[in-house]
Symmetry: C2
Subunit: 161 residues, 2 copies
Amino acid sequence: MSDPTGFAPHDHRACVSSALAAAEAACAERGARLTPLRRRALEILLESHKALGAYDLLERLAAEGLGDKPPVAYRALNFLTEQGFVHRIERLNAYVACAHPEAGEGHGAAFLICRDCGRVAEALASEAPLAADARGAGFAVEDAVVEARGLCPQCQPGSRP
Amino acid sequence: MSDPTGFAPHDHRACVSSALAAAEAACAERGARLTPLRRRALEILLESHKALGAYDLLERLAAEGLGDKPPVAYRALNFLTEQGFVHRIERLNAYVACAHPEAGEGHGAAFLICRDCGRVAEALASEAPLAADARGAGFAVEDAVVEARGLCPQCQPGSRP
DNA sequence: GTGAGGCCGTTATGTTATAACGCATTGCTA
DNA sequence: TAGCAATGCGTTATAACATAACGGCCTCAC
Ligand SMILES: [Zn+2]
Ligand SMILES: [Zn+2]
Ligand SMILES: [Zn+2]
Ligand SMILES: [Zn+2]
């Protein structure tokens, strides 16, 4: 099982730069183009371990003169999610940078979403959840979404305010 | 582990009527009011094991003269989901009738969503998924969404077209 | 009967997402 | 080098999903 990165204090500088490096490398290898706009969108998402709505991202991009119409944000997000650099959080209609760039493309992930501070931790799916139920039903799982809402360690009663 | 109702052939008449009866009973017990509008909304959702968008439901209601403005549908859906008679499918922005009315209010559920025919099977969450990861992170899970997309038995290559 | 609360009709608006057209750049190919 | 296909992005418009807020009506407790 993996460390669900996101809540525990860590060297976030390294976290960001290794994610960017991984994205560069993956693009180079796949012949995908990490354009300035896409790269900047990824950087913005990497700034925090929080999920950002498409329009929040767009606002940030617009502030930097990088485009201010919805399709600009959605196209960047589509590219980044297709490449596996960003995940969509269905419960929030929002997008979070992948916290496990070292895991492959299309890795299964599970998310822990703090309802208080909004941070999102990403755990690599230890095993396909539902596997037993799916087998029982003869259902062929193609991809699964696992999203838990709750309180992160810092936001639980008893932790320092 | 429970039978993930929804794909396997079954006595759907009984399926519908037992769900309605369970809803009636639960409302009676809790002092909640299953008004004609709410009841009809639930019936419509029960007709198929598919998820319906709020506006699809609204269209159905409107056709019967039961209201044609978005809040009508959303209020009914809110009531039904609060009572546990209906679940929201986050990935689809849609709503499906609970297939396990016998399970308690607020039971944890996992969904198998067929991308071809649109049917949704509901499995009672065998065990809190993520439990291990959440413990590892010191995260207190309040509720979890588990939604798998794939192909149901009838829609898999090899089954009768 | 009166007041409180629940339910619903309605208007208006907010939020999230996509379709579709056109232009510019890139990189190939004839 | 000229032509051409593919990709990225600017832009307009619209679709799809969801809620805020007000007012009327009914029911039930007091
Ligand atoms: Zn970090
Ligand atoms: Zn928190
Ligand atoms: Zn049924
Ligand atoms: Zn199917």
